[in-house]
């Protein structure tokens, strides 16, 4: 596919302070992230003519962010929500708007502030009224509460079907923590061993604490513009070469493949095909990692290894700095920060630009980015390029 001046490019990245940051609301974080992204790109806020916003658990990032940023004459403005797949979905919509000439400079932003002083992370994510009526109330009353329980059920199914083990989940946690040690943005940087992993407390078997992502306050924004426009801006352009989404739906009955196959199996190949590249061309992989298990099943579904062999694959020594697969090179949501889909996307942009510092991967021309939302319900894939 020959290059065009309107090819979409990520030209700006804005990251607020992340983690146990108290005071700013989600909207405050979102505005700050967009300001930082514009400054990063060498753009004025007034240059922004498209705004896509997405919220986390506090549902705090809304259309009125336009007003907070005093943006006028927007040609694209929407709230989007497909949970962890939304960061990718926002970049996709922004890319298509730029390609079509509908907008020139589109900011895509996500922010959340679930953490409050004196309240545990677990309580933060369980906070808010649990449904006690109707069908949602039935699940709660039955004791099935929240993502930890539902993903644990998915992971156990994978373990019993394919023989995947806890130690194999642990290999993912250990490798990502080793990358996080080199990431100044990461919340958790102390290396961990298999013993540390196995000793961490149960959340919902088979998940231990170290199988589960962090919780963070903060916000991240990216700015998508045309290749032509990006050529004059401050950062190395990150081309958006391919993209796809998959929302397979679950039948919820006999033959449902919940826990075994995800939408990544459809969206990965589709995005690679759009980009005109193969898996072997990918140098860096940033996968949504709400749980260690999510990484494992996504690796299988993307085709890095056959279905069911994700466990053997991740414990083979291929992960971690120095391994052959540069995966979640900032530590991911497990060790760096939990900004939903902005976590893998932000690290992907940093790597694609060659700005990873101590953790920079040498082969960063093509970066694969996943997003996963709901309970393995919503999937997005992006293929990003350091150059066309």
């Amino acid at each position: 596919m020959s290059p065009s001046p309107r090819d979409p490019v990520i030209a700006g990245l804005g990251i607020t302070e992340l983690g146990k940051v108290y005071g700013p609301t989600a909207a405050d974080f979102a505005a700050q992230a967009v300001r930082r992204a514009a400054a990063d790109a060498g753009l004025a806020l007034a240059d922004i003519d498209g705004l896509l916003v997405s919220s986390g658990t506090t549902n705090g990032v809304r259309l009125d962010l336009q007003r907070d940023l005093e943006l006028t004459d927007l040609r694209l403005l929407s709230e989007m929500q497909s949970y962890g797949s939304t960061a990718g979905a926002m970049v996709q919509l922004a890319s298509m708007a730029v390609q079509a000439g509908m907008a020139d400079v589109v900011a895509c932003v996500w922010a959340d502030n679930p953490l409050r002083p004196g309240r545990s992370a677990g309580a933060a994510y369980g906070a808010g009224a649990r449904p006690q009526a109707g069908w949602p109330g039935l699940l709660t009353a039955s004791g099935v509460v929240g993502a930890n329980h539902l993903y644990a059920l998915a992971a156990r199914r994978h373990m019993e079907t394919y023989g995947t083990t806890s130690e194999q989940f642990g290999a993912i946690a250990i490798a990502q923590r080793a990358w996080a040690a080199m990431n100044p943005l990461a919340q958790l940087r102390e290396p961990i061993t298999l013993d540390d992993y196995l000793a961490s407390r149960w959340i919902a078997e088979p998940f231990r604490l170290l199988d589960c992502c962090l919780v963070s306050n903060g916000g991240i924004a990216v700015i998508v513009t045309s290749a032509d426009r990006a050529a004059d801006l401050a950062q190395p352009p990150v081309h958006v070469l391919g993209w796809a989404q998959s929302h397979p739906g679950h039948s919820g009955r006999r033959d449902d493949d919940f826990g075994l196959v995800t939408g990544a199996a459809q969206a990965g190949p589709a995005a690679l095909s759009m980009a005109g590249v193969g898996l072997a061309d990918i140098g860096v992989v940033e996968l949504y990692d709400c749980y260690t298990f999510t990484v494992l099943v996504t690796l299988e579904d993307y085709g890095f290894c056959p279905k069911g062999e994700g466990g053997r694959f991740v414990e083979s020594g291929i992960l971690g700095p120095g391994g052959d697969l540069a995966l979640n090179t900032g530590g991911g949501e497990l060790s760096a920060y939990y900004m939903w889909g902005m976590t893998p996307l932000s690290e992907a942009v940093i790597q694609a630009r060659g700005q990873g510092g101590q953790r920079q991967v040498a082969e960063h021309e093509l970066v694969l980015v996943s997003g996963n939302g709901g309970i393995l319900d919503h999937h997005s894939t992006l293929v990003l390029g350091g150059r066309r």
Partner: protein, 134 residues
């Protein structure tokens, strides 16, 4: 008390009437006879919205299981509960708690039967699972 409080709404009223009578009500399509889960709005097979209620036989098989650990305030003791995805013999899946069974008594394929419990007299009956006898 294994289950939490539950209030009915318009959409769950008939199902919960069944639960109170000890029946797990499923949906049967009037057009193609396929059986769907109780909460569906249209037949999972043919899409028809003409659905009737049919009681499940009560047998199920474990599809997956997990053991939730919860710190109970204020003494900090850890309470565990075994959760299952169970495939009812008629086909639909249901997510609930396994009661009166050790966590290591269950694996994929274990046979279960449906039962009903309620948090208190003001609350609705909630389906739970027990190990099938024998």
């Amino acid at each position: 008390m294994s289950v939490g409080p539950l209030a009915r709404d318009e959409r769950t009223a008939e199902f919960l009437d069944g639960a109170a009578a000890g029946k797990f009500l499923l949906r049967r399509c009037d057009v193609c006879q396929a059986i769907s889960a109780p909460h569906v709005r249209q037949c999972g097979q043919c899409g028809s919205t003409e659905l009737s209620w049919q009681p499940a036989a009560g047998g199920a098989t474990v599809v997956s299981w997990a053991v939730a650990h919860a710190r109970s305030a204020p003494d900090g003791t850890i309470a565990t509960s075994t959760l299952v995805i169970a495939q009812l013999d008629e086909g639909p899946w249901w997510w609930s708690k396994l009661v009166d069974a050790a966590p290591d008594a269950v694996a994929s394929g274990t046979r279960l039967r449906v039962d009903f419990e309620r948090a208190d007299e003001e609350s609705e009956y909630v389906p739970v699972f027990r190990l099938a006898a024998g």
